[in-house]
Symmetry: D2
Subunit: 337 residues, 4 copies
């Protein structure tokens, strides 16, 4: 890290900072300018020591040099991680499509959807059994009932299951029914939950928080990986901005940058990003063109009766049109479904 | 709610929407304009039915009329709620000051801080035993060890304790040591946690999420209240914006609006809002001037050795200066410490 | 527009609002609910009357039904507008590439760039003669000297010229040298300037303001069109968000939505959107995949000596790589350079 | 500035950067770490050279040390600037209140308002003759007719006039009728206009752009000051964020920080910041508590018939209530109207 001392910093304060850095095992490099004294601190632990240093008397600003994530970084592992879930592999040549309803409602809804998306080329079935909803009066999901349903349907159709887990003590339960655990955007910094899925043996789909920087998103992955679970797939789902015409703003740069900084696979969720059915195809295309390794799309047999997120869900014909609309693009990008 | 049909909506689609509304127990009012057909839907359940209606064919937009929160609303309870914690009462004439270190580090740190802030007029001692940190490599708190420490110190000094709880299964543990449970900004939409503190018997301090609208913040309070716990104090701690000169942007309008829309007490955290020690006094003043019922301030005997958030912590002399700087303002506002 | 009266609105206030609406020539439709009275106001002038109505006593909220833009709307003109500049046509099957340096520096720089981008497939040469810079101490452009230079170079290479105009009284000057006038992001709501280019006979490239909603962007186009100039091309160049890893956040949804709401062509500027050279290709791809009609890319013979925006400028080899990287994608999308 | 070289930077690239820095007259300080090479560049011109350096091969990031503003900085002039307009002085003990309608409509409206606000303690009369409106179909102001009106009314009531100028070639005209020139938020980076008011002999009220950082705001002031006009008053009017309950988010930290970084007076506009009449008093209080030197408030004899911004305008009784509500606070802060 680089420490910029304030103009008024005394010689004593400059000395004090250097002592603290050395006491913490960091190498120290002093640069006495006309306007400011600048101290370089060298060593692995520098990211975690930044807040302490920032509080020292006479310090104006502390600037990180190293990215704070390690296990998630390409510096740590240059080659791309491949994450296998069922028959699908994230991070390679395949473009993995996850599809299904926002919430699991009943067997008919789920089975018809699963059969349809499977036929269209999807590899994983999504469907929420535990639904984090802004309102306590909205449908909260079928819970364990829903988990059983999705497991059966997945077996019958040969799809793998990804479903959200919202509380540390439900990780073990959900892991019995799913092949991949989803951490939702609202829980991206729910560290107790991240640590728990880090101890699970299943791959994790980690959605970006709606106001999380790319760095914070990778730090959330780091929490999971630090517990020993390296099977993490990142999912960009739009960030919160001043624009109100769309539910969120899909950040395609984040897809490209996350792929550059990290070896983990990155997919996109154009349904949540836009909140508008007719934007799913253009956003899906944009995400893949920016380098995404896959997509997560909401599909419902009858979006107009869906218990949640109907406005952004595709019906079967619309889903087919999206897949069809992606195919030539994938070929051009040297990828395949 | 008001439903705006798209220009191309067929007569059949308009009929369909009306049928669905009536089937859901809502009153229906049709307004056929030249450009658009508009349908008014009247009834209590309209907020929760909005997503379903938004997905119906031919619907362009759905606009809420009623605020989605009920228990938290002044419509539900016009008079202000008073929340008592130890000897302090939030929401009345008193301006309650909560102070203490970001994290509990050791007895000496905590005791000296408690004695000092008590003498200066604070009523509650803050201090984190479970610390949600962006990096898994940062200090994560002393956990139950820390809880014991803060309980002892509080007893010795006659202060009440507020401390953060980060996981549903620790609510019961934390409740044994604290008089008030804090939900941090990152967990504002951790619904499993909200429900659990909703079942606890202790008052809750609910921080606003860094990208949460005022409405979403009140919906988070609604989650807690729906479980039967009405002792909720809201805390504005700055929102995330494009401005990088401050850690967050303190939203004083949110303080005034939350007081207008809700009967719950509202306090502010100028330390986290700014991330800069020298802004604590002006922001504390601004928050109180906008109508806040109290303040939460980080104080540490030696900020330069603090294990977290040192740059925004006040030392004892600085804390005294803040309290002194607030006193004439409080008198002018007809309030008191 | 729809007017939602406050719960406490008196019968008199409701009557008053209706009278005002009728006096303004609007049709009125009353809907008396249990909780609220709602008034629908029907008529062309309703968007411009909204602020007046919002101020009437007893009014809680006013909700627009019609989009406020007319000339820019697909409601007004369903078929896509084609804008011809030199040999290029924006808005049709062609994907128009604009390239060139951020600022015009000297003949050698400009001529070598022009020759190179022409050979690679670009149709327009960009280059700033008047540079709006955040700092008054930064290079402000060669002004009329630069205009002459770019005109000569364009003639020699057979490219058309697009260059920025920053002040109403320079529109006439710039129009003598360029084939297309650019309005920069900082000037998107400089209405005096918009009106002046609206009176010019040249096509206009209108960049989106960095905090402008899609609706405000189209309203800026409306300002130009209202003066009689319908040859407007929109340019998405990234919006300002909390994310600091990129200079701006490219909003691909805005490309798709602007194409849906408006008949005007839409292009993207991946150089300004990211501020990072290595993101130009993925963002260019994403923009085209989302439906953009063209691209604007910064190219400089020696980015490391550029007088502005060097960090995001491509050198010749990098530009060739971008064009090469786009070609298969364009084919897949049924478009061509 | 500090230059962080990328991990892969060659020795040659490091040398090249140093040569360029020296050639630009900067001092150079090299620090060879294990992970990265870091170069410190020392000298006055370093802010303006940053973009060039950022483009050099092998450079990963460039970090500014010095703030880019000079004339506006307290480093340049430690004591606060006093700006006199009519009988009022901004920046001293006085809290200057500017009031009046959003737009000048007719003599009766303006005169009655002027008489009322004068009696209540305001020192300057505001009123727009040139109105920058989002829609070209909204009322655009009475233009020179309005300027004459406001000049007469001001003379009659003994108030000074501040009014907006939106185009460089109208600066001279407006300066004939007003005592202070206002630059609106949308024009904060309209550099041609800033330079023109920099050449005028009148004080300037510079509103912060709705997505401008504090640093960019001070750089806009720098543009004016560089032309020789040091009489600049800054005005915080709310920034654009994700929150939709208020028109903008009043950034009280920006008031405190601008006062710390700059010697220029800072006032606040609670009317535009909130867009809600009932928030004017709490936001005005918060702004003053944060250190503002004055306020700008919209007042209209009949807000419900105002041609613009009626929803946020106060009527006479409401304005009196605001002034009354501020008085004890001012006393507590050691200030006076």
């Amino acid at each position: 890290m680089i420490i910029i001392m304030s103009r008024e910093a005394s010689a004593e304060q400059v000395t004090r900072v250097q002592q603290q850095l050395r006491a913490s095992g960091l190498g120290v490099h002093l640069s006495q300018g006309v306007e400011r004294t600048i101290i370089g601190a060298i060593g692995d632990r520098s990211p975690e020591l930044m807040p302490m240093v920032a509080a020292l008397a006479g310090v104006e600003r502390v600037i990180p040099i190293l990215k704070p994530f390690k296990l998630a970084s390409r510096d740590f592992q240059p080659e791309s991680t491949l994450v296998q879930v069922g028959a699908a592999v994230f991070g390679g040549e395949e473009t993995v499509v996850i599809a299904g309803p926002c919430a699991i409602e009943d067997e008919e809804q789920l089975l018809s959807t699963a059969q349809h998306i499977k036929a269209a080329g999807a590899r994983l079935l999504r469907g929420g059994a535990f639904k984090p909803r802004t309102s306590p009066y909205s449908f909260q999901g079928l819970k364990s009932e829903g988990l059983k349903l999705i497991q059966e349907v997945a077996k019958e159709t040969g799809l793998a299951v990804v479903t959200e887990v919202v509380s540390p003590h439900e990780v073990e339960l959900v892991a019995r029914y799913a092949q991949m655990l989803q951490i939702g955007a609202r829980n991206m910094q729910n560290y107790a939950l991240l640590q728990e899925v880090g101890r699970a043996k299943l791959p994790v789909l980690l959605k970006r928080g709606m106001a999380a920087t790319i760095e914070e998103w990778l730090m959330a992955a780091e929490y999971i990986m630090k517990e020993g679970n390296y099977q993490v797939v990142l999912c960009e789902r739009g960030i919160r901005t001043f624009e109100t015409a769309t539910r969120n703003t899909l950040d395609v740069s984040a897809i490209a940058l996350a792929k550059e900084w990290s070896h983990l696979p990155v997919i996109a969720d154009p349904s949540h990003a836009s909140g508008r059915r007719n934007l799913v195809l253009p956003l899906a295309r944009a995400a893949l063109a920016a380098g995404a390794d896959g997509l997560m799309v909401e599909v419902h047999p009858h979006p107009e009766t869906a218990l949640s997120d109907g406005a952004q869900s595709l019906d079967f014909a619309q889903f087919d049109a999206v897949i069809k609309g992606l195919t030539p693009l994938l070929t051009a990008l040297g990828r395949r479904l």
